[in-house]
């Protein structure tokens, strides 16, 4: 009894499906499936071409965009300077300093010496002038070495002995001169 009922139900299912399929197929056959499919395949081919082109330019464009955005954000969020410093301010300050390539005599601090300031009291200018002088003296001395004349290196004891002899001779001379004056 139960089996018979099941068979009838299955037949009913078959009939309903057939009805559904027939109805849908009538609509399907009325349209040109092949033509629509060909159009879609052609559109898909164009889309694939466009996609491959986009894929080719996407990575460089995205990188460029990201770098631009990062630079823009850095520029926007950078903390401002405490006060606006004009480059001319530095230029004026630097122009007051002497040039290292020029001699002290040519330096703009020339007038300071004219008004009687000593070199030692001339501060930076004086120190610079003496440094340049020392440098010139060294340059004058260096050729000796360059010519191959050897300056003996004396020990401290030797130096003291020479100095002692010098002083003895000087003293002896002073005594002799003094005695001769008295005489």
């Amino acid at each position: 009894m139960n089996k018979k009922m099941d068979d009838r139900d299955f037949d009913e299912i078959g009939r309903l499906i057939q009805y559904d399929v027939d109805k849908a197929l009538r609509v399907f056959r009325s349209g040109d499936f092949g033509k629509r499919l060909r159009a879609r395949i052609a559109a898909d081919g164009r889309a694939v071409k466009a996609k491959s082109f986009l894929r080719r330019i996407a990575v460089p464009s995205a990188t460029l965009l990201a770098v631009s955005a990062a630079l823009f954000l850095l520029n926007v969020h950078r903390s401002p300077a405490p006060w606006p410093v004009h480059p001319r301010f530095f230029e004026a300050g630097l122009s007051q300093l002497p040039s290292f390539s020029r001699s002290a005599a040519e330096s703009p601090s020339g007038p300071a010496r004219k008004v009687g300031m000593s070199e030692a009291g001339g501060g930076f200018q004086g120190a610079l002038a003496s440094a340049e002088r020392r440098k010139k003296e060294e340059e004058r001395e260096t050729p000796l070495r360059a010519e191959g004349l050897r300056v003996p290196v004396l020990s401290l004891k030797k130096k003291m002995e020479i100095l002692y002899r010098d002083k003895v001779i000087e003293r002896a001379l002073v005594i002799l001169i003094g005695k001769s004056k008295e005489a």
Binding site: D6, D9, F10, E12, I13, G14, L16, I17, Y19, D20, V21, K23, A24, L25, V27, F28, G31, F33, G34, R36, L37, R40, I41, D44
Partner: protein, 172 residues
């Protein structure tokens, strides 16, 4: 495979367009969706036609493509329904203005589609491929990748479940 052979194979595949449409109708339960799905199936087949090594396997390969395409579509629709709450059940999309004589049939068809929609995935695919696509047991087994015996038992369970659902809906 040479381009000429591919074109020939595709032409051969086009002869199964109604079978593909029927399978898509069974899965989607909506004629317009079924046509869109059929186009998707043929588009996929066109793109990867070079993968077919033997022209004799074209029919089953096409049905496998149809099956996976329909299952993917169902998955997407389920997700859309879950998040958008607006994609209606296909069975509800049947026309309301129908002649008196077909009213009962259409009503029962709606119930049938609901019953098919409630089947477990494995039973549903066997049921649709057999009842809508008219595939043999061997073809079914190769298409879903199961043994013929498994296919038969799944089909039997699916038929019983659908029949039970229709009967219960008739009593309500």
């Amino acid at each position: 495979m040479p381009a000429e052979d591919e074109a020939k194979l595709f032409e051969e595949m086009m002869t199964y367009q109604e079978a593909v449409f029927r399978i898509c109708l069974g899965f989607s339960r909506n004629p317009s969706d079924a046509e869109d799905l059929s186009q998707d199936v043929y588009l996929k087949a066109f793109r990867s036609i070079g993968r077919i090594h033997s022209p004799y396997a074209a029919k089953e390969w096409l049905f496998r493509v149809a099956r996976t395409t329909c299952l993917d579509h169902q998955k997407k629709r389920r997700v859309a329904r879950l998040f958008l709450h607006r994609a209606p059940e296909p069975a509800e999309g049947l026309e309301r203005t129908i002649p008196e004589a077909f009213a009962d049939t259409n009503e029962r068809l709606k119930v049938l589609k609901k019953a098919v929609g409630r089947l477990p995935k494995k039973q549903r695919e066997i049921f649709v491929l057999r009842e809508y696509g008219h595939l043999s047991y061997e073809e079914l087994a190769r298409t879903v990748g199961a043994k013929a015996g498994t296919v038969m038992s799944r089909l039997s369970r699916a038929r019983r479940a659908v029949a039970r659902f229709i009967k219960e809906a008739g009593h309500e």
